[in-house]
């Protein structure tokens, strides 16, 4: 039978944290999904929420995952998708983000006008931000 060490048990967050966080993130996503772009509500939300997460991530108020001290050279493979995306994104941006040369933002805008898509993408964004904060 697995038993947590006293140190691990002491540092482990209470069990209700994860479900409470999930409910909070889903609730925030359902609310933000209704905020249109260029609105005061969305601007204040993104500045406030983004700033709070940024502050949590930079300070040491939360326990973090163990540090990754070294990675293998195979990490360079990650440059391939980054370069493919960055090349086309930058070229499209330089050419004015037209229908013939769309940036990701231009492709995403019509999708993000729909409530459920906006809420789902926001849920992905806030979950990703939390994962970064805890790293």
């Amino acid at each position: 039978m697995d038993q947590q060490s006293p140190v691990a048990a002491e540092s482990a967050p209470p069990r209700w944290h994860a479900p409470a966080r999930a409910v909070g993130f889903v609730g925030a996503s359902l609310a933000v999904g209704a905020f249109p772009s260029f609105s005061l509500r969305s601007t204040i939300t993104m500045i406030g929420l983004g700033g709070a997460f940024f502050w949590l991530g930079v300070t040491r108020r939360l326990t973090r995952h163990p540090a990754v001290r070294r990675i293998a050279r195979q990490a360079l493979w990650w440059l391939v998708p980054v370069l493919v995306f960055a090349t086309f994104e930058l070229v499209s941006f330089a050419l004015g983000s037209t229908p013939a040369h769309p940036t990701l933002s231009a492709l995403a805008d019509p999708v993000l006008q729909h409530y459920w898509a906006r809420a789902a993408v926001f849920l992905g964004w806030i979950s990703g931000y939390w994962a970064l904060v805890k790293r």
Partner: protein, 72 residues
């Protein structure tokens, strides 16, 4: 639909597929390819003096992404 638009869409799709492939490869037993989370963790360790530059850069980038797509 113009040819350049199709090429651009294919390129974005290819980048997404490559990310999924690398993530799956990174999660395999004994893989030397890091997962995206491990890569982010490594980048976030980068410091210049007392400034956690990697951490500030990644958190700041993600904040900007959210602002760009939801508030601009």
């Amino acid at each position: 639909m113009s040819a350049t638009r199709i090429v651009t869409l294919v390129a974005y799709g290819l980048a997404l597929v490559l990310i999924v492939v690398l993530e799956v490869a990174g999660r395999r037993e004994g893989s030397r390819v890091p997962t995206l989370a491990q890569l982010c963790g490594f980048v976030m360790r980068y410091r210049v003096g007392r400034v956690p530059l990697g951490r500030v850069a990644l958190l700041g980038f993600w904040w900007w992404v959210g602002f760009h797509f939801f508030a601009r």
